[in-house]
């Protein structure tokens, strides 16, 4: 072994070390790639699931609202004036006349109070139901941002 060869050996890695380094680098790149892919897929799946759930909940809400309205109407139909009169007659009730009624003075009684079963005000929900990061996939977001930047540089109005 000459002096030249010995000097070369002093700073050059052994071939097995180089192979190991390359292998590790490749693994890191592969793991990074897989991680990005995994994140993209996860975000995409979450976005889809959230969207589908919202669609389902909307349908459910509409269904309940329709059902409630139908039930209110059905109750009204079952307790309609004609039906109640018919039912009272069946049960043997007769129409009272003024002379048959005993009136009692009740101090502070203000009379019959109306009960209106009107719908309550609309729920004051926050305007955004789903976080923006869940509404687009990573690739879509990236492309949108690039297009936006491009449009801005070209002076395209939004």
């Amino acid at each position: 072994m000459t002096i030249k060869n010995r000097l070369k050996q002093a700073y050059k890695q052994a071939p097995w070390r180089l192979h190991t380094q390359k292998g590790v680098l490749f693994l890191i790149a592969a793991i990074l790639g897989a991680s990005i892919l995994w994140i993209m897929v996860t975000v995409s799946v979450e976005a889809s699931s959230a969207g589908l759930e919202i669609q389902y909940l909307n349908r459910l809400r509409d269904e309940y609202e329709r059902g409630n309205a139908s039930k209110v109407t059905e109750i009204a139909r079952l307790s309609s004036a004609a039906r109640l009169a018919e039912r009272a007659k069946e049960l043997g009730f007769v129409r009272a006349t003024s002379s048959q009624i005993s009136y009692v003075y009740v101090d502070g009684y203000t009379g019959r109070i109306a009960k209106i079963t009107a719908q309550p005000p609309g729920a004051d929900l926050p305007p955004v139901l789903i976080r923006p990061e869940y509404t687009v996939s990573l690739s879509e977001w990236l492309m949108k941002e690039i297009v936006k930047l491009n449009e801005q540089s070209l002076g395209v109005s939004p």
């Binding site: 889809s48 309205a69 004036a81 006349t97 003075y105 079963t117 509404t135 690039i146």
Partner: protein, 599 residues
């Protein structure tokens, strides 16, 4: 060798990087390309659809919260033709449950035809407005068929009976749970017109915009990624209306009107009940009425297109003697006469050269104003009007709102013009005939509203049907409005006492045990093509009570009854209405109220 391998790696790496960069730049170029944008838009148009979503129509309640008009869930049945494998079973099922023609359904499924664009129809509507009960029946059949299919052994080309491809699309249907009750007030919603549906007659027409709410244009997408808050936004329903109408009083008034129609042989009967203090209409019963749930039968219920849907506001008539209340009110208020002013009835009074006679063509001799009203003497009232003079007389009528619509919140209100001195068709005799309600036309609501001022310390109220609007949980009230004070409170009390005494003195059929009422009968001739009809009259009665603190005013109008006189046919109807009304209004008899007031 090692150098070559390294070079290869670098070359491949470089090439891949360049290729990646090229793809990336190409994508950017594509995204910014006009054609690409058009394609993206086209793709979006397929993926998303824009629809106008109609809010659920607002409900209508009576004054106590009883639902008069609401909504119920029904379904349209569609079939996706490509998924239908057994058209016969679908047709047979729908025919048995819905009563539709089996062959029609079968033909729709087997030959769906083409749409306007010339494309084959893939989604066929098989039935509409299917009720929840009918849907349940169909679903039960479907379940049964699925169960049976599991046990069947089929050849390769055989299909088990099934309802595949059929689906239900829910929608809200306008419905009126009280049926005919108050249908003349409420009107109806012609839901079969779908997107073009609108309120027709009554409140449905008058408050159509409030009831329908604000339609919203909404974008629907099949891509869950594109779900946004706009798609989830809850559409507020149309506003709810709370009426002044009392369901139980309305029901009673309609029942009495129907009975009166039968017993009197009248063409029609109208009963109006109002709170004179607020102008609130508590009931407005008319004949005929129709069930708004089956509005398409309108032509059957009203075969004559000129027949008004709501006689209380959509028709005018010559009121006859009940109009004397306004003449006397004007005369008392202007100081022309007093209750005890004497008048000698000779059986005829000439005005403008034409003689006015009493209803019996008799001479009633010495009278006071009270007895003039009690005996309903035309001669006396013509003299009173003449004493006032046309200017004063018509000024008062104007102040009572005669000749104008009342402004009630119902669609289709009409009024007839009031001819006054100076008008082309006005003659001096008009003053005489107008004094007792002939030659002047009013609607039932107009005359009730005008005379209600006498029961309300002289204050004329705007009649109202709508009490409150509830829009998105916020309550907006429609307060009572005083629209004028035609006479003083003193005059109003004097006239009320006169009419109370009149009824008592003549032991009128209108009297109600235990309650003090004031009122006036009316029998009016009916104008025809060549003058007044000789064989038909209109009978009416208007009265209010209790006289010391009026809580109601009731107007009864029987059109062309078999009996000739209002006192014979209309007064007993008034009495019956008031007898039941005081119970429904929790109004104790006078002696109990006096006891309470004395404590």
């Amino acid at each position: 060798m090692k150098q070559i391998t390294f070079f290869r790696f670098r070359f491949i790496g470089g090439a891949l990087t360049l290729a990646g960069l090229f793809v990336f730049i190409w994508m950017i170029r594509l995204l910014n390309n006009e054609q690409a944008r058009e394609l993206v838009l086209e793709g979006q148009s397929i993926q998303t659809s824009t629809e106008i979503v109609m809010p659920v129509r607002g409900s209508i309640y009576d004054t106590w919260g009883h639902l008069l008009a609401g909504n119920v869930e029904v379904y349209d049945i569609y079939a996706e033709v490509r998924n239908v494998s057994d058209a016969d079973t679908i047709a047979a099922t729908l025919a048995s449950v819905l009563g539709v023609k089996q062959s029609d359904i079968r033909n729709k499924l087997l030959d769906p035809g083409v749409n306007e664009d010339g494309h084959k129809i893939v989604d066929v509507k098989l039935a509409e407005f299917v009720t929840s009960e009918q849907r349940e029946q169909i679903l039960a059949i479907k379940k049964e068929l699925t169960k049976e299919a599991e046990t069947l052994r089929l050849r390769k080309d055989e299909v088990a009976p099934n309802l595949d491809g059929m689906r239900f699309e829910p929608l809200m249907l306008r419905t009126y749970p009280e049926g005919m009750l108050g249908s003349n007030i409420i009107g109806f919603y012609n839901f079969k017109q779908r997107e073009l549906a609108t309120g027709v007659y009554g409140l449905e027409e008058k408050y159509n915009r409030l009831l329908m709410g604000t339609p919203i244009q909404r974008e629907f997408t099949s891509d869950p990624h594109l779900m946004n808050e706009a798609q989830s936004e809850q559409i507020p329903p149309g506003a709810d209306l709370i009426l002044t109408i009392d369901r139980d009083i309305q029901s009673m008034a309609e029942r009495v009107a129907d009975e009166a129609l039968k017993s009197s042989g009248s063409e029609s009967v109208t009963i109006l009940i109002m709170d004179p203090e607020t102008g609130d209409i508590l009931a407005m019963a008319v004949t005929p009425r129709m069930d708004p749930n089956e509005y398409w039968e309108l032509a059957e219920v009203f075969p004559d297109p000129t027949t008004p849907y709501n006689r209380a506001v959509e028709i005018t008539f010559e009121p006859g003697s009940i109009f004397k209340v306004l003449t006397m009110a004007a005369a008392l208020d202007s100081g022309t006469v007093e209750p005890e002013t004497d008048f000698l009835d000779t059986g005829v009074y000439y005005i403008g050269g034409v003689g006015v006679h009493n209803w019996d063509y008799g001479a009633w001799g010495p009278q006071t104003m009270t007895t003039c009203m009690q005996h309903s003497l035309n001669v006396c009232l013509a003299w009173v009007a003449d004493q006032m003079g046309p200017t004063l007389f018509y000024n008062y009528l104007e102040k009572f709102g005669i000749g104008h619509t009342t402004g009630v919140d119902l669609a289709g209100e009409v009024s007839s013009p009031l001819l006054v001195q100076g008008d082309k068709d006005w003659y001096p005799i008009n003053l005489g005939t107008n004094s007792y309600g002939q030659g002047v036309a009013v609607s039932p609501l107009q005359i009730t509203s005008a005379i209600a001022a006498v029961a309300n310390d002289g204050k004329l109220m705007m009649p109202r049907v709508l009490k409150t609007v509830i829009d998105d949980g916020e309550e907006y009230s429609n307060p009572p409005q005083v629209i004028g004070t035609p006479i003083s409170a003193e005059t109003a009390h004097t006239l009320t006492d006169m009419l109370h005494v009149s009824l008592k003195e003549e032991s009128s059929d209108a009297l109600v045990d235990g309650y003090s009422v004031a009122g006036k009968t009316g029998t009016a001739s009916i104008p025809g093509p060549g003058g007044y009809l000789s064989n038909a009259t209109n009978a009416s009665f208007i009265g209010w009570g209790p006289v010391d603190d009026p809580k109601f005013i009731v107007f009864v109008w029987l059109e062309e009854p078999a009996g000739e006189w209002g006192s014979v046919v209309a007064a007993p109807v008034f009495s019956q209405v008031v007898s039941e009304l005081v119970v429904l209004m929790d109004l104790p008899p006078d002696h109990i109220r006096e006891q309470v007031a004395g404590n």
